[in-house]
Symmetry: C2
Subunit: 452 residues, 2 copies
C-alpha cells in the first residue's frame, strides 16, 4: 500500500484514542467539521479543494496485517484493539462544499458523520489533504485574478514539499484556473495539460546558444519555445529573429520565447520590439522566475507585453502564507452538541450549514452559518457526497471543479477580487459578510452551560 493511503499516515494519538473509545464502548455517532478559523493576511477568500482525495482516502481506509504487526511491536495496544482494527472500515456519511467553491472562516467545507472511532482516525489525513489543496487553490486563484486571460503554468515541482505536494499543487492550481503544469506525473494522474521545453543547462551544454536553439527546434518542431536569458536576453532574441526564417523554410514555427531573469518588464518590452521589428509579431513571450500574483499584476500593470507566465515556488509552497489556520473539530457526539472552549480557539458547536445570498447584480452578497434545523435565505453550500462509506459523487472530477471555480470567481464581489493584502489590525474582518445566525449562537450558549 502506498504511504498516501496508509492508515498509519496519522498521528499516534488517533490510535491511542481509538483504543480507549472501543474499550469504553464509545462508538456512538460523532460529527466532525473541517473549517478555517480565520482568513490569513494576504487572502480575501479561500477556495475549497482536496475533496476528491479525501473521499478516496475514506473509501480505502483499512489496516493490513503488516500495519497491525507494526502496532503490536510498537507496544501500548491490546490484542483486542488490534483485532478490532483488522475489520475497521469507514462507514460514515460526508457532506461537503463541492471543490472549487469559494468559502470563508467559520464555514465548514466538510462534515463527517460516523461512529466516533471512524470519524476520529481520519482527522490527520483529512486535514493534511484539505488544508494543502485549499491553500494552493486559494493562492492560485489570486494568480488567475492577477493575470486574466494569460497562459498560466505551474512550474513548482522542484520547490514543492515532496512528491505529493508537487502533484496536488498542480491539481489545485488547475482547479483554480491554471492552464497546465510542467509536472509530467500530474498529467498522468489528473489529466492536466503538461508544458515544457528546455532549461539553461541545455543551452550551456551546446557550443553556442544559436546551435542550441536550432537543434532543439529541429528535434521538437511542434513545441518551439526558446529560453533566451542564459547569457544576454536581447542578444538571444536577435538570434531567434535570425534563425526563425531558416526554420520557417523547413516548416518549423517558433511559438514563443521564455524570459527567466532580470527586469522582466524591461526585457519583455525590448524582446517584443525586437521580435516585431524582425517580422515576428506572432512569436509569443512567456515569463518565469520567482513570480507570484503580485509580481504578475505589477508586470501587466507596467504594460509588459507578456503572453504567459510560469509560476513555481510561490504557488506550490503558497510562499507568502504556507499554512492556513484550519481545524477538524468535534461538533456533536451521541446527539449532544460539543464545543472546545480553549482560549482563542473556541469553535461553533453542532452540525452546521452555510447559506449564500446573491445580490441583484448576481454577485455573492453574504453568507449565513447556522444549525441544520434553521433554514435561512440563500443557497445551501454543503451537499451529501458520501453515504455509508460510499461516494455519492464521481471520482476524478477535476474538470467539474475547475468549471465551478471559474463560475465562483466570476461571482466574487469587487472588493474580494483585489490583490492587496489587508493592513492594520490582525483580525480585521473580511469585506465579505459572514453572519453567525442567532440559532447557532443560542446553541453555543447552551453548550457552555453544560457541566464538564
Amino acid at each position: 500500500m502506498s504511504d498516501a493511503a496508509s492508515p498509519l499516515l496519522t498521528d499516534l494519538y488517533q490510535l491511542t484514542m481509538l483504543q480507549a473509545y472501543y474499550a469504553e464502548g464509545m462508538e456512538d455517532t460523532a460529527v466532525f467539521e473541517f473549517f478555517a478559523r480565520e482568513l490569513p493576511p494576504g487572502r480575501r477568500f479561500l477556495v475549497a479543494a482536496g475533496l476528491d482525495q479525501a473521499l478516496d482516502y475514506l473509501e480505502d481506509l483499512k489496516f493490513s496485517e503488516e500495519d497491525l504487526a507494526w502496532l503490536q511491536a510498537h507496544g501500548g495496544f491490546t490484542a483486542r484493539f488490534l483485532d478490532t482494527l483488522r475489520d475497521f472500515r469507514f462507514t460514515g456519511d460526508v457532506h461537503a462544499m463541492p471543490e472549487g467553491t469559494v468559502f470563508f472562516p467559520h464555514e465548514p467545507i466538510l462534515r463527517v458523520t460516523a461512529p466516533m472511532p471512524e470519524a476520529q482516525l481520519a482527522e490527520s489525513r483529512l486535514i493534511n489533504l484539505l488544508h494543502f489543496e485549499t491553500l494552493v487553490a486559494s493562492k492560485a486563484a489570486r494568480c488567475v485574478l492577477a493575470a486574466p486571460g494569460k497562459l498560466l503554468v505551474d512550474f513548482g515541482l522542484r520547490r514543492a514539499h515532496g512528491a505529493e505536494a508537487g502533484l496536488l499543487a498542480a491539481r489545485a492550481a488547475s482547479l483554480a484556473g491554471f492552464s497546465g503544469t510542467a509536472t509530467v506525473l500530474a498529467g498522468v494522474r489528473f489529466g492536466i495539460p503538461v508544458f515544457g521545453t528546455m532549461a539553461h543547462s541545455y543551452i550551456e551544454a551546446h557550443a553556442s546558444e544559436m546551435a542550441a536553439f536550432a537543434a532543439f527546434a529541429r528535434c521538437h518542431p511542434g513545441n518551439v519555445v526558446l529560453l533566451i536569458d542564459t547569457y544576454d536576453t536581447e542578444a538571444a532574441v536577435a538570434k531567434v529573429v535570425e534563425l526563425a526564417p531558416q526554420l520557417a523554410r523547413e516548416g518549423i514555427t517558433v511559438k514563443s520565447v521564455r524570459l527567466d531573469s532580470g527586469d522582466l518588464a524591461r526585457h519583455a518590452k525590448a524582446v517584443r520590439g525586437i521580435l516585431d521589428a524582425g517580422g515576428f509579431p506572432q512569436i509569443g513571450t512567456f515569463a518565469s522566475g520567482n513570480l507570484d500574483e503580485t509580481q504578475m499584476a505589477r508586470l501587466l500593470g507596467e504594460g509588459a507585453p507578456i503572453d504567459g507566465f510560469g509560476v513555481g515556488t510561490h504557488l506550490t509552497t503558497s510562499g507568502d502564507m504556507p499554512f492556513l489556520d484550519c481545524a477538524y473539530k468535534l461538533q456533536e457526539y451521541a446527539g449532544l452538541a460539543r464545543r472546545k472552549r480553549s482560549e482563542g480557539k473556541a469553535t461553533w458547536p453542532g452540525r452546521k450549514v452555510v447559506y449564500r445570498r446573491y445580490g441583484d447584480d448576481g454577485k455573492m452578497a453574504g453568507d449565513t452559518v447556522t444549525v441544520e434545523s434553521d433554514p435561512q435565505p440563500g443557497a445551501p453550500l454543503l451537499q451529501p457526497v458520501m453515504q455509508g462509506g460510499r461516494r455519492l459523487i464521481p471520482r476524478d472530477n477535476l474538470a467539474a471543479a475547475r468549471a465551478r471555480c471559474a463560475e465562483q470567481l466570476a461571482l466574487l464581489p469587487e472588493p474580494l477580487r483585489e490583490l492587496q493584502t489587508f493592513h492594520g489590525p490582525q483580525h480585521r474582518p473580511s469585506p465579505y459578510p459572514v453572519t453567525i445566525a442567532q440559532a447557532l449562537r443560542d446553541l453555543a450558549a447552551a453548550v457552555d452551560r453544560q457541566p464538564h
Copy 2:
C-alpha cells in the same frame, strides 16, 4: 510503482531535452551541483538533508511500459527516444556532504557526474527531495538550539504539504535533533520514536473532563499524558492532582500534562505550582500550540517551567521561510566548465570542493570553495557516495546523520547559534566566512571569455 519513485515525477522539459540530447549524440559526461544561492532571512546556516532519499531515487530510476505508453500518447516523442528510455538507468557517480552537515551558500552539497541525459533527468526530483529535507532540517536545528535538553516532538503532519512532506519532515526533524514525531508512519518508515496521547475531541466526547482523564489513564497506563486546556487549564490540572493519587493506588503513574492554548508561560507556571503543591513534582509539563523556535526561546527565557514541546505547522512548513533559493546547475560538460550568466543568477562553474577550517577552540572557523585541483587547508566536506549508479554508503542511515548533526551543531561558532534573524540590507553576509578561492574565480573568468 509509487508516485515518489516514478520517472515521470519530473518536469516535462527534462524529457524534451533528453530527446534532443540523444538525437544530437550529446551523451558526454555532465557535472551538475546542488547548492543554495543565498542564506534566507531568518537562517544563519543550513543543514544538509535528503541524501538518503536522493540516492534511493537514482538507484531505482527506470521507466515502465506504462510510463512509455503515456509518453507516446502524449505526443512529441519519437519511437526511437522511447526505446532509449526503455533501457534508461542512472549509471553515474555522486559526491555529497553527509546528511547532517552544516553548510552555507555557494557550497555544493551534492554533485552528480553522469552522462548528460542521466544527470539532466534527475534534476527535478533531486531538488524536490534535497530542498525540502534541508529546509526542514535547517528549521528544526533552530528549534533544537532554542530549547536545549527539552523533549521536542514533531506534531506537523496535518499542516504538512501532503503525505510525503509529513514523513520527510519527521525524518528531517529527527535528523536535526528532535526526540520524535507524532506521525506513526514516520516511525514505520524511519524508526523514529512516535509520541501521542489524546486530542480535545476525546475530552469533549466524555460526560466530564475528569471521566475522560480517568478512562484514558486506565486504558493506557504506560502513557498517561493528559491534555488540560479543553475548558480551563488550571481547573483541569486541579482535577489531575485529585485523580493522580487514586491512579497511583492502581499502579498508574501520570507522566505529564499538555498545555495547548492561551498564554503558555503563565499557564505553565500556574500548572507547575498546582502540581508541586499537590505533591506531584515528578509530573512533567508539555506545551504545544502554534510554536516555533522563537516562541520556545521566549517561553524558556521567561522561565516557563516546560519540559517538552510539540512543534507542528511552523516546523513542517518551515513557516517563516517555506522555500530556499537553491538550484541544481550544470557546471561542466564534455570536460569544459560551464556557467549560467543570467542576471542575478550567475553561478560558480566547474567541479567544486569545500574545505572547512576549525579554530583553536575546535569551533568552525571558515570554509573555502574551490575547484577540485586546488587543495586548501581544512577538511574536505564532500565525499563519494555513489559510483556507477550504486551506493557507496548504507541506506536508512538516519541514526548516523542524527549523530553527525549533533556534532556539527556543537561546533557552530557562537554568532551562528543565535536565533535572531538578520535585519538591514537584504544580502547582508553571514557572520561565517565562506571564501571563494582565487582558482575558482579564475575559472569563472575563463568561462566568461568563451564565446556563446
